[in-house]
Symmetry: C2
Subunit: 156 residues, 2 copies
DNA sequence: TTAATACCGAGTAATTTAATAGGGATTAAA
DNA sequence: TTTAATCCCTATTAAATTACTCGGTATTAA
């Protein structure tokens, strides 16, 4: 019941991108360096984010990535589902209709449990917008007296 | 972000035990057969449940397992945490104080996300009692015209 | 004494994770 | 027009985890 490094690193990368966005695209190598993640691995993660329409890429020299939408319109749920797949606790047809229906769905009791867990997780992450995290990040960094230039690496 | 078979099988086993409990202990082999789970594997799962004080065992011939408490006092959260470990989405000191504190806790933004997810999962599973599932199970089985003797195996 | 049961620890195949590695395509700038 | 910076894509791999199996020991009712 743990997120993988895909979700953890990927969310941090999107926050980094959102915090450091300006007029120009942000190179992946910069995000990777600030976040202490290998460029090669981060490439795989950002590819998922691009496929999900969360970021756009600009190819060539001076290229990089930008948010595909305002950060107010991107939820943490959108980001985590892009990186991790669905956030359901089990693969169950009742939660995810692209699963093959369970032969004992009519007498299944645990499906109510899975539905409650699933709904609570998705409601929680859909209720946090990227803009909230950007604001919090700026607040916390200002409080710690850390400038954008020398911000230290995150671990979590 | 998925539960393992430990949580899925184990929860089904506890529900089975609760539904089929009477004056006598229920042998693991019976639960295993009804639920279509190997006895050897189920042994490992029920050992965790016993260690957590959710079930008690009676050794020797005609022995088996019984609930250690009334089903009204056992939450799904108790059961799943016994089987899966904590239900937090990440190993983070803010959620689980036996983790070593994160060196960048002061500037960590994602911890707010993990806390919200963690709380929502734990609140959800702690709000469902085993007795609720037993009642639901009996209702569903009666509706399907299935007697206790020939109940079919569950898959989920 | 026997059979039914719980208890225990070691081993293992398959899968997933968390990367690494290396090359190709595109484009701004020198 | 070349170069360097950048995104893009696929293959490989070591380590960890999962989901078991296997074989034995201990206990106790009948």
């Amino acid at each position: 019941m743990k997120l993988t490094t895909r979700g953890r690193y990927g969310l941090r990368a999107v926050i980094d991108l959102a915090v450091n966005n300006g007029d120009e695209a942000v190179a992946l190598s910069q995000i990777a360096e600030r976040q202490g993640i290998s460029v090669n691995y981060l490439e795989q993660l950002i590819a998922k984010l691009k496929k999900a329409g969360i970021v756009d890429s600009i190819r060539g020299a001076q290229g990089g990535y930008v948010l595909a939408m305002p950060s107010e319109e991107i939820s943490v749920g959108d980001i985590l589902r892009a990186l991790e797949g669905d956030l359901n606790p089990v693969d169950c047809h009742e939660l995810n209709s692209n699963e093959t229906p369970c032969s004992n769905s009519d007498i299944c009791v645990t499906k109510y449990v899975w539905k409650r867990i699933s709904d609570s997780i998705n409601d929680a992450v859909d209720g946090i917008m990227l803009s909230d995290l950007v604001a919090e990040s700026k607040r916390v960094q200002a409080e710690a007296g850390i400038t954008q230039a020398n911000q230290s690496k995150q671990i979590c």
